[in-house]
């Protein structure tokens, strides 16, 4: 080969690769249009990382991929308050620490303006409870604090330190709360280093916070019924008010991981009271699910449907495979708080631990599901009990909201 030709080739290649190319523009405006917000998760090859996508869709019929999605953190949780969409940093260390707020444009049915608020790293913040346009509570599960923010300005305006109420460590793990009669009822998970309830403290605590002063009025405990892990920080609707303004709290227990301690169920703070009514606590681990031979070993998620009926996903320990992280052992059920019965919903496959979101819309309970052979959104007609698979998704569907 001619030396000069070789030299020219080397220089040409180096110049070619050295040329600057404009980076592909980041597009923060999501594709997709509609009045339904959907979040799906796609795992990476290493399994430890991955990413999730939020997008608007027009209906929950047919199938949808993620080509129009906005990329958010791996399994980032989403809170929707009115026309504002709050996307939280994913847990772990591979994502940014910003809380991102998108404005939903109801007229155009698109996601619009974006604002951000930087949160402390690894805070474990995963939802917020809006008191009004100027104030919202943002529990930080890992830090053991509640940040008080202005959700309109996206500024921190205060914080509530709960470390003095923590058992065994310095975080009481503030979970998903609810506001009733001027008080913020905030369940405390009180977990050990393995994210399990302390065996010597297997109970449910709730901090009652005055929403005018942001002070903890008191912490109440249900330490009689052996029910622990009240609500999960990433899952809305596990604390809810009934038509009678009673607060019910779903307790996950040990997620079925400790075979000798499968207690799980519901506890209640009746209307007008700031103490538990122990007589209304219900450990569902002793109740056989009608239509099956199984008993629930944990409540993974729930949605109150009215008249004492709760749609829920419950864990069935007997169906847990060799690997609890990918096995499908979570069953869709209807729980009757009044009759103390649990019925399996036929037609919705057993799902894994990621796709357990339940919504309610137009007389339908909407279940996200990732089963052995089917993934997507299923509907359950509350009146007739009819079940339909309506939407297929690419990846795990983990959140759905109807504007």
């Amino acid at each position: 080969m001619n030396k000069k030709v070789l030299l020219a080739a080397i220089l040409a290649v180096l110049m070619l690769v050295g040329c600057k190319k404009d980076p592909i523009d980041d597009i923060d405006v999501p594709g997709g249009k509609g009045n339904i917000l959907l979040e799906t998760t796609v795992k990476n090859a290493d399994g430890i990382t991955g990413t999730s996508y939020i997008q608007l869709i027009e209906s929950i019929n047919g199938s949808v991929d993620n080509s129009n999605g906005i990329q958010v953190g791996f399994a980032s949780s989403v809170t929707v308050e009115d026309d504002e969409i709050f996307v939280f940093p994913s847990w772990g260390t591979d994502d940014n620490t910003n809380l991102v707020k998108y404005k939903y444009d109801a007229k155009k049915q698109v996601i619009g303006d974006k604002q951000e608020l930087e949160l402390p790293p690894n805070s474990g913040a995963s939802h917020l409870i809006k008191v009004n346009d100027q104030k919202a509570y943002l529990p930080c599960y890992i830090l053991g604090k509640v940040l008080v923010i202005n959700p309109t300005a996206m500024e921190k305006i205060g914080e509530i330190d709960l470390s003095s109420y923590a058992h065994g460590d310095l975080s009481a793990e503030p979970s998903y709360g609810i506001i009733r009669d001027g008080y913020y009822y905030l369940p405390l998970n009180q977990l050990d280093a393995t994210f399990m309830p302390y065996l010597d403290y297997f109970q449910s605590d709730v901090a009652i916070i005055d929403i005018n002063t942001d002070k903890v009025v008191k912490v109440i405990s249900e330490d009689v019924s052996n029910l622990a892990f009240p609500t999960r920080p990433l899952v809305k609707h596990m604390i809810f008010k009934t038509e009678q303004n009673d607060i019910y709290i779903a307790c996950s227990g040990t997620f079925g991981f400790i075979p000798t301690l499968l207690n799980n169920g519901f506890i209640c703070i009746p209307n007008g009271q700031t103490e538990f009514d122990i007589s209304r606590s219900w450990d569902i681990s002793e109740t056989t699910i009608e239509g099956t031979e199984y008993k629930p070993s944990s409540v993974f998620s729930s949605r109150y449907l009215g008249n004492g009926k709760v749609a829920a996903y419950v864990a069935i320990s007997e169906l847990m495979g060799d690997n609890p992280y990918s096995s499908k052992y979570t069953m869709a059920v209807i729980i009757d708080l009044n009759e103390k019965t649990i019925k399996a919903i036929d037609g919705i496959p057993l799902t894994d631990g990621h796709s357990i979101w339940i919504e309610e819309h137009n007389g339908l309970a909407i279940f996200t599901c990732f089963g052995d052979s089917d993934a997507g959104v299923f509907t359950y007609n509350i009146a007739t009990g009819e079940v339909q698979k309506t939407l297929s998704t690419a990846g795990n569907p983990i959140f759905v909201h109807f504007f």
Binding site: V17, D46, A193, T194, F195, I258, N323
Partner: protein, 796 residues
């Protein structure tokens, strides 16, 4: 040491180099007056092979030289005149040529190619052709890149610097000296890629030596095997291997060097050797010490514009080793090598300001090597190495508070401390006893056939201890463990008499066992289960090389390899990652095709052009699966790779060497279904994330002897460029994909000047000359422009 002081030191040493440079320039005119050089190559007239050791002699002035491993010779300081130059070599007819020097404007008479004819007597015998080691390796049947380190020994380069310029290789680094470095070869990385020193596995079931720990001065060459790894290396690497070959030193040797680099980085090293020939004893020893503050400034990958100085990334490493070899006993060689390695590393936070957490380790090793030719049987060669290692290591994470980058203080979760976010405090004092034995028997059946049998046995007993973790967790999480593995292989090599065809067929058998205990990682239950497993597997490979023309050859290989799960994959960490004793080994099917045109030693350009294409199909991929509140390793990945690599390098001019290599590797997810289901895999056919797919490297090396005048001096200037196309951290499923590892283009410049016939070296290097922003992963900022200078003295 303050930043100002460090900069002063760098400036001081830089000024010395500049002074030497200027003084050399002034001496040039003197040196150029009337002295000439004669250079050329001596080859076999039939095979065009270089004749290593052939002599060149001018009787009239009593000046001579020997040809090097490429057949190259050089005679300096010739005055104008006519000379009769004699060329000779044992077994060849001598040749005398009249050469007239002077009367021209040139000072060098180059590109003289002398071909010697073998004598009739030697032609009748089996001719042993001396080839350079590098050339022999390139001509092996399997795809391999060989980087000769002779030209890099005096420079500030590290092994990483060298590997990243190699076709098909990328390095993934967490940043800074001593940061975790993973070699990625054709897109495969971690324990799939073997790391060997002198053919002994270093990362199979141990991790106490990092690829950058080996001082570059000690390295003779680096061999990079792609697709097929020789069975005699042992271990269960399957995607390829990096084998670092340590130098054979002269009989008397002393090598001392000291390097000063940016971020208060100091690297010092000493190697000595003494061969007491009459007693058949060779003594050697050496050591190295590296220290770095690693305190470069990075931009937070999470908060744009937030500049962070890495204040908690200090690194210290001490290596001390000795060597005694006996060459006059019953064994041809009996060698003992004791060594000690101490490492200390602070943990640098990226998302938060980690201020106290650190790791430490101490390793004591004793190695023994035995070699014997004609071991009880003519033609049977024994080569056995045995290593015993005792390692103590631990993680200290006991800080009661942790901080964000704004200085805000937060309490650790555990009352015992911990700032890394593990929910427990740690002050571990783990111990590990390892034993490795590698045994190779090679039997030369005849000139065309040979058979080799090899085994590699490892024993690893782990004794973890972490009292404060136990207190934090409320139970014992880690248990003593015993792991054993045996890889046995048999290889049959066949070569045609005319050396046109070479075939190498290997069969391997894998056997491994694990005995330990485990507990449920959830809750404070104290139920403990026994874990006892024993598994085996088989693999094979075949590699073929066909010489189409004397300088042009084709290679093909096919392999079905196995990687045994590592201890950490089988056992988890006792905390967040649960045990997975049912893991199956990974399997990789690969096909490689290559063409090589090689004029090394046969033409003054030493031109090499190589083109390789390959296919890989990885099954039972071991992947980390994270679930609700825990994680586990699982077999569920499948990946297909198609790749093509092109590389060319040559001495463009006598004073200028250049190279370019281009890699395109297309790795795709081919899982039909999502894990543990028959739900269609939404990323099927997508490019595998977090793996670069298009890379180009290129460089030029200018070198000239006595460039600035004087005698016995050599100057080299190297410019290396590296380009990596932008790629995604996640599967690309939307145009809105945000997490990208940006395109990078970096330039490194190296200057080296040696004095007194390669006795004293002074070199300087600028890495990342253009101060380009470079990220590893998508959130690990690497240093910007940085500098290094080095001085080295060699006594031979």
């Amino acid at each position: 040491m303050s930043l100002q002081n460090r900069n002063s030191k760098i400036l001081y040493i830089s000024s010395i180099i500049i002074y030497l440079f200027i003084s050399s320039v002034f001496s040039t005119s003197y040196a150029q007056s009337g002295l000439y050089s004669l250079t050329g190559t001596i080859l076999d007239s039939y095979t065009n092979e270089p004749l290593v050791g052939a002599t060149v002699f001018i009787k009239d002035i009593n000046l001579g030289a020997a040809a090097d491993e490429n057949g190259f010779f050089r005679l300096d300081n010739l005055k104008e005149g006519n000379y009769k130059v004699n060329f000779s070599f044992v077994g060849y007819e001598a040749k005398t040529k009249s050469i007239s020097i002077g009367n021209t404007n040139v000072t060098e008479f180059t590109d003289i190619v002398i071909k010697l004819k073998p004598t009739a007597e030697s032609l009748e015998q089996v001719t042993i052709i001396a080839k350079s080691k590098a050339r022999k390796l390139r001509e092996r049947a399997m795809p391999i890149s060989v980087i000769s380190m002779n030209s890099l020994n005096g420079t500030v380069n590290s092994v990483s610097d060298v590997l990243t310029k190699t076709v098909g290789v990328t390095l993934r680094s967490s940043g800074g000296i001593g940061g975790a470095t993973r070699v990625s070869l054709r897109g495969l990385e971690g324990k799939r890629i073997g790391f060997f020193i002198d053919e002994t596995p270093m990362n199979d079931q141990s991790d106490f030596i990092d690829i950058n720990d080996i001082p570059i001065e000690m390295i003779d060459r680096i061999e990079i095997y792609k697709g097929v790894v020789p069975a005699k290396f042992g271990g269960s690497a399957m995607g390829g291997a990096v084998n670092i070959v340590i130098k054979e030193y002269p009989d008397k040797y002393l090598d001392v060097s000291y390097g000063l680099e940016s971020f208060n980085t100091h690297k010092s090293q000493l190697v000595f050797k003494r061969n007491i020939k009459d007693k058949g004893i060779i003594l050697g020893g050496g050591g190295g010490f590296t220290y770095s503050d690693n305190d470069y400034v990075m931009e937070s990958p999470y908060t744009p514009g937030l500049m962070i100085k890495r204040e908690h990334d200090k690194y210290k490493k001490l290596l001390i080793g000795g060597n005694v070899k006996f060459t006059k006993l019953w064994f041809d060689e009996i060698e003992f090598e004791p060594s000690y390695v101490r490492t200390y590393k602070q943990i640098q936070g990226i998302i938060k300001d980690v201020r106290k957490a650190e790791t430490h380790s101490d390793a004591i090793l004793l190695a023994n090597n035995l070699k014997k030719k004609d071991f009880f049987l003519p033609g049977l060669d024994l080569d056995m190495s045995t290593t015993f290692a005792y390692t103590m290591y631990g993680l200290v994470d006991t800080a009661r508070y942790w901080y964000d980058w704004y200085g805000n203080e937060f309490s650790s979760f555990s009352i015992y401390g911990g700032e890394l976010g593990n929910r427990y405090a740690s002050d571990s004092h783990n111990k590990k006893i390892s034993f490795f034995n590698k045994l190779n028997f090679e039997y030369i059946i005849n000139a065309n056939h040979s058979l080799s049998f090899n085994t590699f046995f490892t024993l690893a007993n782990g004794y973890p201890k972490n009292d404060i973790q136990e207190l934090s967790m409320g139970k014992v999480m880690v248990f003593d463990s015993k792991m054993r593995s045996l890889v046995a292989g048999i290889t049959y090599d066949a070569r045609t008499t005319d050396d046109k065809l070479l075939n190498s067929l290997t069969l391997r058998y894998y056997l491994y066992s694990m005995d330990t205990k485990k507990t449920s990682i959830y809750g404070s239950g104290d139920k403990v289960f026994d874990v006892n497993l024993l598994k085996n597997d088989v693999g094979f490979s075949d590699a073929i090389r066909y010489r189409i023309l004397p300088d042009f050859m084709a290679k093909a290989s096919v392999a079905y390899d196995v990687r045994v799960p590592s201890e950490s994959e089988l056992l988890g960490d006792g905390y967040a990652v649960s045990a997975s004793e049912n893991l199956l080994p990974e399997r990789n099917t690969s096909v490689n095709l290559g063409l090589l045109y090689d004029l090394t030693g046969k033409h003054s350009t030493n031109l090499q052009v190589e083109l390789n294409g390959y296919y890989m199909y990885l099954q039972n991929m071991i992947r980390y699966t994270k679930g609700l509140i825990g994680a586990q390793y699982q077999n569920f990945g499948e990946m297909r790779t198609l790749g093509i690599e092109f590389e060319t390098k040559a001495d463009i001019f006598k004073f200028l060497y250049g190279y370019v290599n281009v890699t395109y590797q297309d790795l795709r997810d081919v899982r039909k279904y999502e894990d543990s289901s028959t739900v269609p895999n939404s990323t099927r056919g997508k490019r595998m994330p977090n793996i670069p797919y298009f890379l180009v490297n290129g460089g030029l090396e200018f070198h000239k002897e006595n460039l600035f005048g004087g005698r016995g001096q050599n100057t080299r200037v190297l410019a290396d460029c590296s380009f990596i196309e932008e790629y995604f951290y996640d599967f690309e499923v939307t145009a809105n994909q945000k997490r990208r590892i940006p395109r990078s283009f970096t330039v490194d410049l190296t200057f080296e000047h040696s004095f007194f016939n390669n006795t004293l070296f002074i070199s300087a290097k600028v890495r990342n000359l253009t101060n380009a922003k470079v990220l590893s992963e998508f959130n690990r900022p690497l240093p910007g422009r940085n500098f290094g200078v080095k001085i080295r003295y060699v006594l031979k």
